[in-house]
Structure formats: structure tokens, C-alpha cells
């Protein structure tokens, strides 16, 4: 057998909204990787089709909210023949485990991948605990 593992399609997960909108529009959860370094939390989100100006990042009450909106004008005049995925705006929230310096949040969007750097505040940096 081929040793090379085949890449599987990841089904898009739909956003579970707390309240329903009046219009039955669907939004999707961007796939996320989150990792922590000594002084920052890094959040990487995949939002294919989202352009630079259409991303909204907020931290409120320790919750990170990220939204990405699609530009629908590109789909004007197109007649779908065969589809394998649906499209929609992206939205996702995370309750942050660390205190974040909100003024220094860094965001970079490249090829549909949003990378957020959330610097930890001094007091939230880890202390080594000595075992006696």
C-alpha cells in the first residue's frame, strides 16, 4: 500500500447560535489551532475566501470573538452545477484561559489563514512552582 497518507476532507462545522436570527442564514466555524508560548497565546483560524478588510477580532470579558465575512459579489452570475461544500460567514468565540493585553493583539491574514497573537499580561505569565 502507498505509504503516503491521503488527506481527508474536513466537514465544515456549522455555528451553533444562541439565538436564532429571523433569516435562516448559515455561518460556519473556522478550523482553529491554538498554542501557547512563554509570553503569548497564538490562535490560527482558517477562513478561506475572507479578505483582509472583512475580519473583526474582539476581546470582551475574557472572551475572544472572531468574525470573517465573505464577499458575495464574486458569486454573482454563477450557476452551481455540482457542489461539495457550502459557504457562509465565519464566526467563533473562545473563552481565554489567560489574561490578555488587549492593546497589543496582533492579527495577520494570509491565504485565508488568520493568525492572532494575544500577548499575556505580566501577572498571567507562568511561574515555576518548586516542589519541596
Amino acid at each position: 500500500m502507498d505509504a503516503k497518507q491521503e488527506l481527508q476532507v474536513q466537514q465544515k462545522r456549522e455555528l451553533d447560535k444562541k439565538e436564532e436570527g429571523t433569516i435562516p442564514v448559515r455561518a460556519f466555524l473556522p478550523t482553529a489551532d491554538i498554542y501557547e508560548s512563554q509570553d503569548a497565546l497564538k490562535v490560527v483560524l482558517e477562513m478561506p475566501g475572507v479578505e483582509k478588510g472583512n475580519v473583526d477580532v474582539r476581546v470582551e470579558d475574557g472572551v475572544l470573538n472572531v468574525e470573517g465575512r465573505l464577499d458575495l459579489t464574486k458569486y454573482q452570475g454563477l450557476q452551481p452545477l455540482y457542489t461539495e461544500y457550502n459557504i457562509g460567514h465565519y464566526s467563533r468565540s473562545f473563552r481565554l484561559s489567560n489574561k490578555i493585553n488587549q492593546d497589543k493583539i496582533g492579527a495577520e491574514l494570509k491565504e485565508g489563514v488568520l493568525s492572532l497573537t494575544l500577548p499575556k499580561v505580566e501577572e498571567a505569565k507562568p511561574r515555576t512552582i518548586q516542589v519541596n
Binding site: E6, V25, D33, V113
Partner: protein
């Protein structure tokens, strides 16, 4: 009088419904290739030509290889996800690896006219139909 609301959400709902309606439609049923392999592809009609829109976030453009023949398109490449050293992982959902997918279409293409564009994590393939495949209007004399 009916007032038309220029609500962008309406446009999105309609688009989502039309995409849903063609989900795994039997348009490719007679072909050797099937639905399913990575990356996911949507095929649209644009005039008399085709447009394939493929979601491929975070790919190095140079790693993408696209080959076209009369009625097949092959998309191959590699998706890499790297983590800096010494970090602790909270969540790991993104997938990565090599992919190689062939899509065969029920129409003849004009291989020289195919154009590919990669932007914002979306690969768009403009697939012009070959001239001899296009419908012709026949005049009754």
C-alpha cells in the same frame, strides 16, 4: 407596493440554498472520479464556460500543480502547518499533508485556455469549454 429590501443576508441565504441543492449532484455520476477526496470542489457554470472553486487555505502557491487535459483537471500540492518550537498546544484542528485529486468533467475543455488563480485561500480554475463542444444555433433555412 412591495418594497424590496436590499439585504445582503438574503443574497447569502439564496446562494447557500442553491449550493445546498446541488450538493453532490449527479452531474459527475458518469465519470471515473468521485466526490469526496481532498480538496473540496464546487463547480459553477459561467456563461458557456465552467468555474471550479476550491477551498485550500494556507497553501504555498508554488506547491500547487495543476494539469489539464481534454476533460480532466488534476490538482496536486502540499499543505503544511508548522508550530514554533517550545509551544504548548491547546487545540489542534487544522489538517495538513499532500493531496492529488483528479476531477473529470462531462464536457470537453480547451486546455490552453485554462486559468488558475489563488487568492485568500481559494483556488479558482477557469475552465473554458472547447469550441467544438459549445452549443451552436442552427438556422432553419
Amino acid at each position: 407596493m412591495i418594497t424590496a429590501f436590499a439585504d445582503p443576508f438574503d443574497a447569502l441565504v439564496n446562494l447557500q440554498r442553491s449550493l445546498e441543492a446541488r450538493l453532490a449532484s449527479d452531474w459527475l455520476a458518469d465519470q471515473t472520479t468521485s466526490q469526496g477526496p481532498f480538496p473540496p470542489i464546487n463547480v459553477f457554470q459561467q456563461g458557456s464556460d465552467l468555474l471550479a472553486i476550491i477551498e485550500l487555505p494556507g497553501i504555498d502557491k508554488d506547491s500547487l500543480q495543476i494539469q489539464a487535459q481534454e476533460n480532466t483537471v488534476r490538482i496536486a500540492g502540499k499543505k503544511t502547518v508548522s508550530y514554533p518550537e517550545g509551544v504548548s498546544v491547546h487545540r489542534r484542528e487544522r489538517i495538513f499533508g499532500e493531496f492529488d485529486r483528479t476531477l473529470s468533467l462531462p464536457v470537453q475543455l480547451e486546455p490552453d485556455g485554462i486559468k488558475a488563480e489563488y487568492r485568500d485561500g481559494i483556488l479558482a480554475l477557469f475552465l473554458p469549454r472547447s469550441e467544438r463542444d459549445k452549443p451552436r444555433t442552427i438556422k432553419i433555412s
